[in-house]
C-alpha cells in the first residue's frame, strides 16, 4: 500500500486541545515509509468517508462533544465506522473523542449513549486533572508522555483493555490506567498531541492500518524530543 487515507473527524469541534497535530505526524511518518498520506477533514455536516485507513477524534468542550456525537449517529456514519473496524482500519480517539466512542458518557450534565465502539463508560468527577502524564503500555515497547486536561472518570467493561498503566498523572481518573484499547481501536486522555510526543506510536498505527511491517525510521529530532519528554515527566 503506497497510499493511506487519514480521516480527521470534526476538527472544527474536536480541535480545541491541539489534537489535530496527530494527523500531521501520521502523514509525516508515513512519508519515511514511502507512503503518501491523504488527510481528509470531515465537518459536522459531512458523511464519513467509507475508505479511511485511520480515523482520528480529538478533545473538545462539552457542547462540541455532543454535536460531534450527534453527527456521528446521523445517517450511515456509525455503520461506516463499524465496517471500517471490520476491515482493520485504526481509530485513535483522544479525551472527549475517547468518551464519544465509548458506551456512555456525560456532557453538560446530560447522560448520553456513545457510539459503543469501545466498552467503556465515562462520568465526570469533581476535580479537573490538568498536567503532564506518563504511562507505559504492554502494546508498545516504550513509555508514552502527554498532557491531560479533563474531569473524566472512565470505567472499562470486560471487552476493553486498559491502554496504558499510569506512571505520572491521572488517566482514567483512578491514577492507575489511561485509556482503553480493543484491536485497532485506541482511546486515551493524552494530548500533546500524543503522536507528536510519541512518534513511534504513530508508526505502530501505520503498521496496524496497512498490515505491513516497516523498517525503523531514523528521525533524530523526533527521537530527541520524545526521549526528553520521557525523561522530564
Amino acid at each position: 500500500m503506497s497510499q493511506i487515507k487519514i480521516v480527521r473527524i470534526h476538527n472544527e469541534l474536536l480541535g480545541t486541545y491541539g489534537d489535530q497535530g496527530n494527523a500531521e505526524v501520521l502523514a509525516f511518518r508515513a512519508k519515511f515509509h514511502g507512503i503518501t498520506a491523504n488527510i481528509v477533514d470531515v465537518t459536522y455536516n459531512d458523511d464519513l468517508p467509507t475508505n479511511g485507513d485511520i480515523y482520528l477524534l480529538g478533545g473538545a468542550e462539552d457542547a462540541a462533544q455532543l454535536l460531534s456525537l450527534e453527527a456521528l449517529q446521523r445517517g450511515d456514519n456509525l455503520n461506516i465506522l463499524h465496517m471500517a473496524i471490520e476491515r482493520g482500519a485504526v481509530i485513535l480517539a483522544v479525551c472527549a473523542g475517547f468518551q464519544i466512542i465509548g458506551n456512555r458518557f456525560v456532557a453538560n450534565g446530560q447522560e448520553v449513549d456513545g457510539l459503543g465502539l469501545l466498552d467503556v463508560i465515562s462520568v465526570p468527577g469533581d476535580k479537573r486533572f490538568v498536567g503532564d502524564i506518563k504511562t507505559t503500555s504492554s502494546i508498545l515497547g516504550f513509555e508514552l508522555t502527554g498532557f491531560e486536561n479533563h474531569m473524566g472518570h472512565t470505567i472499562l467493561g470486560p471487552t476493553a483493555q486498559a491502554f496504558g498503566k499510569v506512571i505520572t498523572g491521572h488517566g482514567n481518573g483512578d491514577s492507575k490506567y489511561d485509556g482503553a484499547v480493543n484491536g485497532n481501536i485506541f482511546g486515551t486522555y493524552m494530548h500533546g498531541p500524543i503522536l507528536a510526543r510519541n512518534p513511534e506510536f504513530a508508526d505502530l498505527l501505520l503498521t496496524r492500518a496497512t498490515g505491513r511491517k516497516y523498517a525503523q525510521i531514523t528521525d533524530p529530532l523526533a527521537l530527541k524530543y520524545a526521549t526528553w519528554r520521557r525523561k522530564v515527566i
Binding site: E12, L13, G18, G21, E24, N108, F147, H191, G192
Partner: protein
Amino acid sequence: MRLKIAVLIAKFAALLSKRILRRSGETISGRVLLALYPRAIAELSKSKKIICVSGTNGKTSTTKALVSIISSISKLGTVATSPSGSNLERGVAAALMQKSDFAVLEVDELHLSRVIEEAKPKVVLLLNLTRDQLHRMHEVKRVADRWAKSASAAPGTLFVGDVDDPFVAVALNSAAQSKRISFGGRKHQDGAVCPSCGKYLKWVRNNYKCPCGLTNSNPDEIFEAGSAAFRNATMANVVGKYLGAKLIAVDEKSLERSVDQIHAGVKVNIRLTKNPASWTEALKSVAGDNAVLIVNAREVDGIDTSWLWDISFSGLSGKRVVVCGERALDIAYRLHVEGIEAEITSSFKDAISKFESGASVQVLAAYTAFHELMNS
C-alpha cells in the same frame, strides 16, 4: 482598619520593595492593601469613573491607548492604570490607589467578574476571546459564560465589544446596555459551536447567524476590516467618544506589542506571541528572511504546548528560523513536521549569535520571554 491607613501601609510596602528588592512594587502594594482592606477595590472605585478592558489578546496595548485618549478629558490630568499590565485583583487595587477621576484597568478574563462586581465600572470593553492557557481557563466557553453572567448582573455598565467574535456577542447580548461593534465579520477558530445555545453555528463566509438569535449582522457601529491592532484602537476610540474624549489616530505599530531593540549589533523587532490567535496574527507580518522563535511553558505561558499544533507556520518557509526557550524542542519538532527545519539554540543570546551584526531579525516571543526582553 480605615481605608486611608491601609493605603498608606500598602504604599510604604511598595516603597520598601522598590528600594530594597528593586521591584516595581506594584503587586506587593495591591496584595498588602487587599489583605488589610478586602473591600478596597469597591471603596476606591467610588470616587472614579472606571473603564475595564478584557479579552484574550490586546489588553495591555488597548489599555494604554485608552489611557492616552481619556487623559484629555481628565480634570485632574491623570488616569489611574497599571503600567506593568498587572491584571489580577492585586494589580487593579494597586492602580486604584492613584489619585485620579478616571481609571482604565486591564483585567484578566477569569477575574473580570469580581472586578465588575466591586468596581462597578462605567464601561467594560471586551476585545476578543479565543483559546489560551487552557490549563488555567480549562474551556473557552467557561470564560464566556462568566462574562455573560457578570454582564447581566451589571445594568449600570455599558459593555462595548467586537461582535464578530461570538463569545463577545453573547456577553453583550446579556448586558442591559451595550454597543455592538463589527468589522465586517471574521472567522473564529473556536466558533463552530454557538456559545449561546450550543447548536452548530452557521457561518456564511465571515459572518454567523444562529437560529437562537446570536449574530454579528446587526451591529450598532460597523468599521472596515483591519488587523487586531487596528480593531483594538478603533474600539478604544469608541469608548473614548462615548466618554466625550477626542479621538486619536490609529497607530497600529504602537498597538502591536512590538518593540525594536539591538542585541549584539543585530536589529530585532520583538512581538508578543502567546496563543494560536496571537501567533497567527504575528505570523502574517513577518517581514525579512530571519526569525527567532522563543517558546516557554511557565504558568503564564500555559504549561501545555499542544496548541503549537493549532498554528500554521507555513509563512516561515524559506526563512532562516532559529528557536530557543525552555520548550525550543516542542516548536522545533512542530516546525519539522511542517517541513521547516529550525536551528535549536539554548538561549536568546545564542540564537542572536547565529546572525551577523547589522542583520534584521523578527523575534516572536512567549509571554515570559517577551517580558524578560522588555526588562533587559
